[in-house]
Amino acid sequence: MRTEQDMARMLRGNPRRRRREAIVRTLFFLAAALSIVVSVAIVLSVVIDAVEFLSAIDLNQLWADGWFPRRGRFSIPTIFVGSLMITLVALVVALPLGLGAAIYLSEYARPGVRRALKPTLEILAGVPSVVLGFFALSFITPNIMQAIWQDTQVFNYGAAGIAVGILIIPLIASVAEDAMRAVPQSLREASYGLGAKRWHTSLRVIFPAALSGIVAAVILGFARALGETMVVAIAAGASGGALLNVDITQGGTTMTAAMASLAIGSDQVAGDSSAFQSLFFVGLLLFLMTLGLNVLSERLVRRFRQKY
């Protein structure tokens, strides 16, 4: 007769099969846990050199006249304002185009039109940023910037900002469209039931209802524009350094472009000069800013999901 222990052993199954299950599960867990290692590695690799940089320089150098790392002038306001200029121009381009596309896709497009036009946004999202950088330099500067402001320099914030704007259109459009499609149908039906016109329903009912998701889309676009490197490094100029500049027809540098130009010299410059270490300090600032923006947008999306 089988004892209870025998029964338990049978139910537990073949020991080899069980061992295989445990091994597979552990392997998958390790793959997932690797992401924590990566995060820690990013923070450590940036923070260690950033702290060394800060302790090596006089803190007044962070408010010096312009960003000239080889001359010990590490003006943080200069590169921060530069980044802000690029993101502002980018948002001026990407907000109307991205949100307009999102509203059309979510509220107006018939399924056929949607299937035909949505892939263009996806293709646009797949264009590498070096390509848009070249486009900014070879097309946007002569045909748009210099056509409007004749004394625009070859390297300028405006063209770089427009190209970064093109780069973030698909991101803003797809996140905003998801938010608007998540608004319950009953709101649209109620709006039409009250006799509202179509534009009134989409712009005054659905758009505000999806607002927190749309704001999240804009914040994500902002963060992406802040971190964009190649377009700015190619089209905004100032590889050696720059003074603070708020004129979109002139060139300048940004946090990312400053990092890129330090990186280009990195195979020649000795690895331990403070000019090179400033790279890690700027990287830390950029990391913290984009992290804050991403967390913020994540919160907004979650609040939006709870509402509906």
């Binding site: 599960r25 450590l44 264009v127 390509v131 802040l226 490197t229 195979d267 967390v295």
Partner: protein
């Protein structure tokens, strides 16, 4: 209004039509046109971009034909080809596939199929979302500090291995997120049926979940790899040669090319050319971009073919 015998689904469009008729106000038409223009403008931008690139690149291909692809880099714009850029990018992509695909898919399987709703799994998910939003140049700093400097014994410093690992780490979070979505779309009933006939979790995943999710997993993965293919910023830091690009040797053996030789990549070469002041380099840059775009097109076509093949089989 007559009562129809067949019940029709009540859509907002029907409600609107029965209340307002087919008539549209001019405000409605105007706003609809404006919104459509916003959507179509991205198509227009793509077209202008392509025309600009092709027109600028034309002299290079007209003068040299396809030998541009097989000629090594040179500081002389009239002589320079793009061979090492293509080889470097292909080698980098190989490493990205080998490293990022298993790790990304594995992590996604853990999060979707195994993890319970615990503090740890929520931490992992939040962490991966945040990693996906970190700018690519910050991954370059990671690559420089970890793969080029700390792990120099393994990677030999500034080699394809260091660059490839950097790009792999960059795309793993995106790979995880797209694979998670693909796994989530597999109906729960399939898993329950498999458990019901006595299969274990791994047997269920391997024989039932993965085959169904595979078309979406592959498309997502290939698109993610295409993203790595076009990245330049992290490679500037992770050791790709930029300024003295013409020193990248053309005749080295394949193993040397990956493990010891200095390297460069297609987007990095394009970046370097785009910064050169001589006008000859402008055509060269556009020609390089055209090669990059054609290769990306091929990668995307592979994604579509893989998806179709898997979709037909299951």
């Amino acid at each position: 209004m007559a009562i129809t015998t067949e019940p029709r689904e009540l859509t907002p469009e029907l409600v609107r039509r029965s209340l307002q008729g087919r008539r549209l106000s001019w405000v409605d038409v105007l706003i609809q046109i404006l919104l459509l223009v916003a959507l179509v403008s991205s198509l227009l931008i793509l077209a202008v971009l392509l025309i600009d690139v092709i027109r600028t690149a034309w002299p290079v291909f007209a003068a040299r034909g396809l030998s541009f692809i097989t000629t090594p880099l040179s500081p002389d714009p009239t002589q320079s080809g793009i061979l090492q850029g293509i080889m470097g990018s292909l080698a980098l992509t190989g490493i990205v596939i080998v490293v990022a695909f298993p790790l990304g898919v594995g992590a996604a399987i853990y999060l979707e199929e195994y993890a319970k709703d615990s503090v740890l799994s929520r931490l992992l998910v939040a962490n991966i979302r945040n990693l996906a939003g970190v700018p690519s140049i910050v991954y370059g700093l990671l690559g420089l500090a970890v793969f080029v400097q700390a792990m120099a014994g393994v990677t030999n410093g500034r080699t394809v291995i260091a660059g490839g690992l950097t790009l792999a780490v960059l795309v793993i979070p995106i790979m995880i997120i797209t694979t998670q979505e693909a796994l989530r779309a597999v109906p729960q009933a399939l898993r329950e049926a498999s458990f019901g006939v006595g299969a274990t979790k791994w047997e269920t995943i391997r024989h039932h979940v993965l085959p169904v999710a595979m078309p979406a997993v592959l498309t997502g993965s290939v698109l993610t790899i295409a993203r790595a293919f076009g990245e330049a910023a992290p490679l500037l830091l992770a050791g790709a040669l930029v300024t003295n690009f013409f020193q990248v040797s053309a005749g080295a053996s394949f193993v040397d090319l990956i493990t010891v030789e200095p390297y460069t990549a297609l987007p990095v070469v394009i970046f370097n050319w785009s910064r050169q002041p001589q006008p000859d380099f402008q055509a060269l840059t556009a020609a390089g971009i055209l090669v990059l775009l054609v290769l990306l097109l091929i990668i995307n076509a592979v994604a579509i073919i893989l998806r179709d093949r898997y979709a037909r089989r299951s």
